[in-house]
């Protein structure tokens, strides 16, 4: 077996370079490192590249039908613009007060200031003027942020009927979590 010592291999013409032929095995030996600073395709994506988690136990209540922050948020900086971000939300301690039959909670997931999904509608609704605590609701949402800039995800809630009040992360110290997983393309 001959050994070729060169510092760089370029195509003789055009821009494509092929190594080996069909049926061959290209091996990176133990102890060697292969570094990709460009775009790698066909390597079987779907690997978890990084995980970030945010959490909050701050009780947040609202009597408004405008969307307001629940204080649940996390930020991630994707390493590649074609990566996916799997967002997993557990919104804990959701309830409504007893003052009105129609009040209910609406929960949305946002990237930056843009709503990307409504993951809770009619949450806690009872069609009667009783209080109702449902515990946890949530979502798993696969997002394509198409960026390598820091990206913030958060949840917002509103009181669907604009009466009485709804809340999340109640006084029992309930913890809500948002987990961001960057998945390679």
């Amino acid at each position: 077996m001959a050994t070729l010592f060169v510092d760089k291999v370029d195509p003789q013409s055009g821009t494509s370079l092929e190594i080996g032929s069909s049926g061959d095995t290209i091996t990176i030996p133990s102890g060697a490192t292969i570094t990709n600073s460009g775009t790698a395709t066909g390597f079987g994506g779907g690997k978890v590249l990084q995980i970030v988690q945010g959490s909050t136990s701050t009780e947040t209540r609202s009597s408004s039908n405008s969307l307001v922050d629940t204080t649940l948020t996390a930020s991630i900086t994707p390493s590649a613009s074609d990566s996916k971000v799997l967002v997993t939300v557990f919104q804990n301690g959701c309830d409504k007060s007893a003052a009105n039959a129609g009040n209910q909670m609406i929960l949305k997931l946002l990237r930056g200031s843009s709503v990307i999904t409504t993951f809770g509608n009619n949450v806690t609704y009872t069609n009667s003027a009783i209080s109702n605590s449902i515990g946890t609701t949530g979502t798993m949402y696969l997002d394509s942020p198409s960026t390598t800039s820091a990206t913030t995800y958060k949840t917002q809630m509103s009181n669907g009927n604009n009466t009485a009040n709804v809340g999340t992360q109640g006084t029992g110290g309930e913890l809500s979590t948002i987990t961001l997983m960057e998945i390679s393309a």
Partner: protein
Amino acid sequence: MAKVIDAILAINPDAKVVTRGSTIDSIEIDWLDGTTEISKADIETKLTELNNNEAAETAAKENKKASGKQKLKDLGLDDDEIKALIG
């Protein structure tokens, strides 16, 4: 136990507010849609009133239960019979 937002809505039922936190001392309140701000002192006073009312209602309910049981006993029912009737 009444919450801060319950006290606010008891003072102004049309108030549009967001509260973040659980205790009156540390809570953050956003007043939305032109809702007139209510002082923390007034909220605290109303909160105490609501909690006192709740405690009084609970006590009154317990008193009525005890008084009702006693009247049944006075009629000659024993504890098992009363329990079978009202649990």
